[in-house]
């Protein structure tokens, strides 16, 4: 197992290096600079700004300098927010985004597996079609539509929940978490339905039933364990996806998270911020994929053998 983890960690280094390098040069190739503005920028001001952020140096020197700073965990100063460092901005938004992502993931897992299991118990009946149609709608409904819809009904018409904010007023976390969770819930539902269908046709399930166990014990004790393996494998990358993909929800609900920086940095050509958020999310995605792989190996003994030392 340790060999496997080490091996995967080593693999992550070139992946991250490619991400850093590609992003670094791509953002500088994109037309439009960080300091272009509707009002003309006087040349002497532009020179001062470029010198301040080392943009007057050759690209190779900028690149090496950036790599050096990165090794020290320093993402540099934001161009758009001159009084702030990229590190500070990422870590100010991360707790909020992580909390939102965690709620969304838990909602997705609970609702998704429940719906999936219920559907799998009576395939091709109304009990299957109903949750699965709902899941199909959930996959298709984009959050920029679902969010305002939920807000209109529960926030504006019924006044059950606040229409914006995060942690200011009780209840303001409900709709954002639900909106962000919707697509993932639907996906989890389909995954768990598939997994359960496969498991429930296995011989050991028939054995369990033959022993006279009540059906709910068969489902929960014997069925779920195997049926949810695809969901477990999905949960890691899903969490990384929830963290990096919360921009729309954060904008609709006015949540001070990380997603807004990530997207706006690109529009602002805030080079250091683009780099910082991209590298940060790359590390997260690599890490969560690694965790998911470890979980998969741990659950599946056949995979474990591949990374074992050859028997002496």
């Amino acid at each position: 197992m340790l060999r496997f983890i080490l091996y995967r960690l080593l693999q992550a280094i070139p992946v991250l290096l490619v991400v850093v390098t590609a992003t670094f040069f791509l953002v500088r190739l994109a037309p439009g600079g960080p300091f272009s503005a509707e009002k003309a920028v006087p040349p002497e001001v532009l020179r001062a700004l470029e010198a301040r952020y080392h943009l007057d140096q050759p690209l190779s020197a900028q690149y090496l300098g950036y790599l050096g700073d990165l090794l020290h965990g320093d993402f540099g100063p934001s161009f758009r927010y001159p009084g702030r460092s990229v590190d500070e901005m990422i870590f100010s938004g991360l707790p909020t985004t992580a909390e939102l992502g965690l709620y969304a993931l838990l909602i997705a897992l609970v609702l998704g597996t429940t719906a999936g299991v219920i559907a799998a118990l009576r395939p091709n009946t109304a009990q299957d079609y109903l949750p699965m149609s709902a899941a199909m709608i959930g996959v298709c409904l984009p959050s920029f539509l679902l969010g305002p819809l939920l807000l209109l009904v529960f926030g504006v018409w019924l006044e059950w929940v606040p229409v914006s904010g995060w942690g200011n007023v009780p209840g303001d976390k409900i709709l954002p978490a639900l909106t962000l969770a919707s697509g993932y819930t639907a996906y989890v539902a389909r995954l768990s339905r598939g997994g359960m269908l496969e498991v429930m046709s296995q011989d050991y399930i028939r054995t369990a039933r033959a022993k006279g166990l009540p059906e709910w014990v068969v489902v929960i004790k014997h069925g779920l364990r195997g049926g949810l393996i695809p969901v477990v494998a999905f949960a890691g990358p899903a969490f990384a996806g929830l963290l990096s993909g919360s921009f729309v929800v954060e904008t609709i609900f006015q949540i001070p998270g990380l997603g807004r920086f990530y997207v706006q940095a690109a529009f602002n050509r805030d080079y250091t911020m683009i780099m910082g958020t991209t590298v940060f999310f790359a590390v997260l995605i690599v890490a969560f994929n690694l965790l998911a792989d470890i979980a998969a190996v741990w659950l599946n003994p056949r995979l474990r053998h591949q990374y074992r030392k050859p028997a002496a």
Binding site: S36, A40, P82, R84, G155, W166, I220
Partner: protein, 569 residues
């Protein structure tokens, strides 16, 4: 008044009844995450209801203004920032030598209690009030202004608004590095509380500039404590560090969430400040902002979603404000292109647009059709119309320029930055040109920064533009079109225009004469038409009826110390 009783909350009831039996039984089997899940359900549902007094009602009672402020402020350093959201916060925290009366926009005393202007209009002597204080109790002195202005002109700071100082003698030379000795800049300390400013030319709008945040004083010991004052990247503007001289002090600044300012006890006019605090919310999405307003979370918004204007006008006009704004919307012509080099073509394009149709049916936000460049009644200046809507005349001009009925007119591209409102307008104008002149215009949209680069580099044929005056004076609109002006970008040049705007108007002996020069310049601009005016801007926003002391003005300028909240009974 007082709090309303807590209302019945259906969400929590529903969750309570459905949760324990059916779901919990299944959850019991998933032991390791059971606690987490239950905690989650409780966190999400049981806290779903609470006191139902809205933030606005609470604010009305406590004199706390909830202000929708657009974007997260870039910074709160007055010598670095350039935006309107930053402006709204900084004018609460700091104050210049003069202020503006929000009803008339005429200068009123700020840190300076009075001033004298020499007969030739070149020397301004300011007398600072004795009780002007920084928020840490230090007196605000003439030295503070002199040092702050030195700092604002340091090229290393990258101050995009350094040009606001350029009317001051030698300020431009100093800011561009041509002059090294700051003592030669026309800023002179005559005493602890007396400051003299010498201008290069009589500048009738100079007092207005002093109320722009780029000319506000900063507190030297604070800036020096937190870094190099002549460099960016200092954190002196953080809550806890910030020292200002305005009616409010910075209490809290949470990234992307809120900026809170509270009434300053050291402010010289504190007795007349009625608000106890202002909460600024960086709400970028206009629909979110409008929802927050409707739910009683904001006293005032920065804008209204365009499709909601008609709804408010019909159903809730008491909240909607539609006011003229010191800005305009126009199309630049790249005059270096063969098909756009002839002024007759440019005028034909201008004369074939039905602007009344556009403001009535496309923009629909109270904009005014523009037949000149400077918005009407800019400090008493209104340019005569430079042309009229005249499709017949437009066709004749186009024919005279060699394109009868549009024949032979090469396909030409109209560029705008990606946005639904720009697209709608471009489509309407494209159709008018097709209908009236029978010419084909293609549309191209680019991402904001790409578009800026394209226009700045002359890499366009016709391009959308907009301008907001820095100060209320025709000069703010007309000096951009001088030969090789940084904002000209059309390639157009007219020596007489340059002379009128750069030499004659600044030296004019009277306002009448000055405006006469400007009218002549503007007439020349419209005759040559390097830029096609479409409409004069308006400001549409929502205000709760409890907000008082916020008169409309062309700059959308609030004087926070005059604002107070009166709840309706």
């Amino acid at each position: 008044m007082g709090r309303e009783p807590i209302r019945f909350c259906p969400a929590a009831t529903l969750a309570y009844h459905s949760c324990p039996d059916a779901v919990a039984e299944m959850l019991m089997r998933i032991a390791p995450i059971r606690h987490l899940l239950l905690a989650l359900l409780c966190a999400l549902t049981l806290t779903g209801c609470g006191g139902r007094e809205t933030r606005v009602e609470d604010g009305d009672r406590e004199q706390v203004l909830h202000w929708g402020n657009g974007t997260e402020p870039q910074e709160l350093d007055p010598h670095i920032v350039t935006g309107i959201p930053e402006h709204h916060i900084i004018i609460a925290l700091m104050e210049g030598l003069v202020l503006k009366d929000p009803a008339t926009l005429e200068p009123i005393p700020g840190v300076a209690e009075r001033w004298e202007i020499s007969a030739d209009g070149l020397e301004y002597t300011f007398h600072l009030r004795a009780n002007a204080r920084w928020s840490n109790g230090d007196p605000v002195t003439a030295q503070d202004f002199s040092w702050s202005w030195w700092r604002a002109l340091q090229p290393s700071l990258g101050n995009l608004y350094a040009y606001m100082y350029f009317p001051i003698k030698n300020a431009e030379a100093y800011a561009t590095g041509k002059l090294k000795d700051f003592a030669q800049v026309g800023i002179q300390i005559l005493g602890e509380r007396t400051l003299r400013v010498t201008l290069a030319n009589p500048t009738p709008y100079f007092l207005q500039l002093l109320d722009h945040y780029s000319m506000f004083p900063v507190h030297r010991p604070t800036l020096e404590k937190y870094g190099d004052p002549s460099q960016r990247g200092s954190d002196w503007t953080r809550a806890g560090h910030f020292v200002g001289n305005g009616p409010f002090v910075l209490k809290q600044w949470e990234l992307n969430k809120i900026v809170v300012v509270e009434k300053s006890p050291t402010y010289w006019d504190a007795a007349n400040v009625k608000l106890n605090a202002i909460n600024y919310y960086p709400v970028e999405n206009v629909s979110t902002e409008e929802r927050m307003f409707r739910a009683g979370q904001l006293h005032i918004t920065g804008s209204v979603p365009p499709d909601k204007i008609a709804v408010y006008r019909k159903d809730a006009p008491q909240f909607l404000r539609v006011e003229p704004y010191l800005g305009n919307y126009f199309y630049r012509f790249n005059t270096q292109l063969p098909q756009l080099a002839d002024p007759r073509v440019r005028r034909a394009l201008a004369m074939s647009i039905d602007r009344q149709q556009i403001v009535d049916h496309v923009t629909m936000g109270g904009q005014l059709p523009a037949y000149a460049f400077t918005p009407p009644d800019t400090l008493g200046y209104t340019a005569p119309p430079g042309f009229a809507y005249d499709p017949e005349g437009a066709r004749a001009l186009l024919a005279a320029a060699g394109f009868p009925d549009g024949a032979g007119f090469p396909p030409t591209e109209l560029l705008y930055n990606t946005s639904e409102s720009h697209r709608k307008l471009a489509v309407a104008i494209q159709q008018m040109w097709k209908r009236e002149l029978n010419i084909e215009i293609t549309l191209n949209n680019q991402d904001w920064k790409v578009y800026l680069d394209s226009v700045a580099n002359g890499n366009y044929q016709i391009a959308r533009g907009g301008w907001i005056g820095d100060y209320v004076d025709p000069n703010s609109f007309l000096d951009m079109w001088v030969t090789d002006g940084g904002n000209n970008r059309t390639g157009w040049s007219d020596p007489r225009y340059d002379e009128l705007v750069m030499r004659l108007a600044p030296a004019a002996p009277s306002r009448e004469q000055r405006y006469a020069w400007f009218r002549e310049a503007e007439a020349r601009l419209m005759e040559a038409m390097p830029v096609l005016p479409v409409f004069y801007s308006s400001r549409n926003y929502l205000v709760q009826p409890s907000v008082r002391g916020l008169p409309p003005n062309l700059l959308g300028y609030p004087l926070f110390k005059q604002i107070h909240l009166e709840a309706a009974h």
